[in-house]
Symmetry: C2
Subunit: 358 residues, 2 copies
């Protein structure tokens, strides 16, 4: 049965890295007779330039129709100063997440042994690091209403946003996290600010409720400030972490950076049926766009996650991941993960190497 | 002119560490003829146990009447499960901050050269680290209304909080940060999430406006997720950072932990007139309370900040800071900062050493 993959190159280094991931996907499509077809559409700044909006109707329709989506990255200084807040690249990304109900964001922070030196942390603190952050992606303060800027008395402006979760939203992401923990080392840490924020008091309560259905998983709670500290102090204490949209944004980036090689980290954003959008954890890096310097491996590994979670092609995913490990063993490095004695390669040369390894 | 210092020991290790700081204050009070008088009051869990509320009226009155306040720490598992959200230790702390208008929170993250090895980060990444985080402390989502847990349709509960700042609140904390940057290395990084949250779009706008009054300070902006990453990747790029209450809570703890010795870090919370509350950055550490293991130096350094900022006794502050540096040079260490070849001392022995050095 043919399956359709929508490719959204986006902005900055997006097109370059996605191009390499597409080569890899095309190859395993043949090797494993996956019967994948590929479409491409505009999103983010590229869509603003072409259609005047960050998420054109045609892109949204294509995203809804697709079986899975591979995204490069969105955003750049060119569009950052747009006075209309709705016409920013990020709104394209947020629009897909929310319109497609991609509430379950999986962000692994894994230290590749070959890149252990790349971390700014001492080897003993991070060696073997393997954390999975489960971030709620379609609720919380990112989407809460009311929101905006209004005038108070005497013309004083005031900006406001609403941090809101209902128990169903919490339960839904909680289940994803408990299931993930069950499939890993059975430790789940739920991160909140229940000593200050009522919305996270409810969060904690629902996590406690859910824990009864997962007696094999050890649930703990941590305040977000402490979690940020513990990620720096002793990150290996964590197995799976679950948290809301905003805290997840912050903590997953901090966790990713612990590895020192954010150019290696993929992510998945899933709906209730396992359909998903896949993208690298890093951003659009406009400063190096078009120079062939970007690391395509996070996007290639995102393609692997896509094959595993949304396209029922776990074997192809395994093979891609093994190929990535192999090119690292061959000492090939893009600039972001370069170190002494290694061989520096360009974006497309890295793609060549993965294709060769496959 | 006599000045009154209110001492709030609080919970956990609070009483032990505050006792050592009080010895130090009493001594410099004599040495510099500062004419300080001391009062003590209950706050947090200790106040709940004694008065049924975390911030008794008498404590609040004493706080208002004092010229400066020295706080140990509040909180502990004993009170964490209190079903009434208003009767939690943290509410005592938040109540003082808001009732006294202590909006300007200064949190230095400094790496003591003697403790460089204590960091989990590589020496070259953190040596010489000296960041000041300026956190807004009486607004934002911590205090925003409306807030609570309510029932939506069909009895589904929903928790909600409001993230709100008006332009005056932003301007006020912005000025504190610009002034601090001017007195340091003239680099200010304002942290927001202006690509998603309207309230921080206003935040960024006001910071830009203020920048015109401080042409000698270089202002930059960073998204909070990136800031969390950059603190791990290259923390020495920062001089002063300014941000709202919630982001400041998270980032200041992460920054503090970069030093590996959070037991060394003081903080100040100031009102418009420079009156303030001073407290260590670390928490109440209930697990080691009463064992003489706690590090009193952050509290002693908080007392030094108090002398400098609220009691017009900069010389006494300098002397205390020099004494702390001296005891570190003498290789004395409490358990939290202990390392090979050093001499482990108890809380009161550390206090003895600082007193001797004075
Ligand atoms: C680009 C931005 C809107 C987005 C977010 O904040 O969710 C990004 O930081 C991410 O984490 O995917
Ligand atoms: C105890 C808690 C309410 C407090 C806060 O979140 O502000 C603490 O974490 C801090 O940073 O001073």
């Amino acid at each position: 049965m043919a399956k359709n993959v929508l490719i959204l190159p986006g902005d900055g280094i997006g097109p370059e890295i996605v191009a390499q991931a597409k080569r890899v996907l095309t190859l395993v499509n043949d090797q494993f007779s996956l019967d994948l077809t590929f479409n491409e559409a505009l999103v983010g700044g590229a869509a603003i330039d072409n259609d005047g909006v960050p998420l054109p109707e045609a892109t949204l329709e294509a995203a809804k129709a697709a079986d899975a989506i591979l995204l490069g990255a969105v955003g750049g200084p060119k569009w950052d100063t747009n006075p209309d807040f709705q016409i920013r690249p990020e709104k394209g990304l947020l629009g897909i997440r929310s319109n497609l109900g991609l509430f379950g964001n999986l962000r692994p922070a894994i230290l590749y042994p070959q890149l252990a030196h790349a971390s700014t942390l001492k080897p003993e603190v991070v060696s073997g690091l393997d954390i999975l952050i489960v971030r709620e992606l379609t609720g919380g303060i990112y989407f809460g209403q009311p929101r905006g800027v209004r005038e108070k008395e005497c013309g004083i402006r005031e900006g406001y946003n609403t941090y809101v979760y209902d128990e169903n939203e919490i339960r839904r992401i909680g289940r994803v996290a408990f299931e993930a923990a069950r499939a890993r080392n059975k430790k789940l840490c739920s991160v909140d600010k229940a000593n200050v924020l009522e919305v996270t008091v409810l969060w904690r309560e629902i996590m406690e409720e859910l824990a009864k259905d997962y007696p094999d998983v050890e649930l703990s709670h941590m305040y977000v400030d402490n979690a940020a500290m513990q990620l720096v102090r002793a990150p290996k204490q964590f197995d799976v972490m679950v948290t809301g949209n905003m805290f997840g944004d912050i903590l997953s980036d901090a966790a990713a950076m612990l590895t020192g090689s954010i150019g290696m980290l993929p992510s998945a954003s899933l709906d209730v049926d396992g359909k998903g959008m896949y993208e690298p954890c890093h951003g659009s890096a406009p400063d190096i766009a078009g120079q062939g310097k970007a690391n395509p491996l996070a996007t290639i590994l995102s393609a692997a996650m896509m094959l595993r979670y949304s396209l029922d092609a776990g074997e192809a995913a395994d093979k891609i991941e093994a190929a990535v490990s192999q090119v690292l063993d061959q000492n090939l490095r893009t600039a972001d993960i370069m170190s002494e004695g290694m061989q520096e390669v360009s974006t497309s040369e890295m793609g060549d190497a993965v294709v060769a390894a496959l």
